[in-house]
Chain length 134, copies 2
DNA sequence: TTTGACCTTAGACTTAACTCTAAGGTTTAT
DNA sequence: ATAAACCTTAGAGTTAAGTCTAAGGTCAAA
């Protein structure tokens, strides 16, 4: 069992953020100490890792909550519901990855074309680079 | 030359958003009509597309402004500055893409493991799926 | 020539996601 | 037994990125 400060330190977030997640139904500690301190289990930490990873790939807390709701009462859902929902999130991520890839390639192309020397960057146009690949 | 409403309609954003971008130094119309209407050129539209694409891949407006500043006074910068900066953005995008790929694969694995049938989703665990690949 | 769809500004409001403050209780080390 | 480092709550404040409101000017069509 970790107290809020330990968990926060471990994941480089503020204790306030954990309280915020609790208030918003994303992650409640599975226990409280006699004096009312929040006590987080290993399973809670797993859930937190999930939240932080999902956030890192651009899901909003509302979307993450949706994913976690499926998790929370898994037995209430039919397998096809879970599959459908997860597949739609996969599709979302794939759209995003395609955008990222295109943008990355454009920037890379620009960097490649750029001599990288000490002279003026007159011919290094980010806009042109992106425009080329519409 | 497009008026603010036309440009907004074309890119599915609000005219307010364009005014906001102007106020924050991201995109000013290259002209004003006699009566004070904003008039955007084709080059302005190109710049807007850049902003929207950069936003879509997760750059903040501040980061976008940084990219645009390079663009704005390209001749003030040395080629190596531009190259360095662009390459650091490429690296950022690659970290993000790696995270996205991992998350996507995990979700995909879950969807694949899920029978997709009408029975309870007891065994479809998003958390477990993500945990498997740390 | 007036109606409707535009546009202007300044400034207030919203939303998401925190982050901080105040006032106080708990635990651990010395 | 007391100081330092934790924790509690409620509620206010912040930041980014818009979004809306009010009060008024412009322009094209009927």
């Amino acid at each position: 069992m970790f107290r809020i400060g330990e968990l926060a330190r471990q994941y480089q977030i503020k204790a306030d953020t954990l309280r915020y997640y609790e208030k918003n139904g994303l992650l409640a500690p599975s226990e409280r100490s006699a004096s009312g301190y929040r006590l987080y289990s290993h399973a809670d930490a797993v859930k937190l890792r999930f939240i932080l990873k999902a956030k890192a790939v651009g899901f909003s807390l509302a979307e993450i909550q949706e994913l976690l709701t499926i998790e929370a009462n898994r037995s209430q859902w039919a397998c096809q519901d879970v599959k459908g929902m997860v597949e739609s999130k996969v599709a979302q991520l794939e759209v995003k990855m395609a955008e990222l890839t295109r943008f990355r390639d454009s920037l890379q192309e620009l960097a490649d074309a750029c001599c990288g020397g000490p002279e003026s960057a007159e011919n290094c146009s980010i806009l042109d680079a992106l425009e080329v690949r519409q």
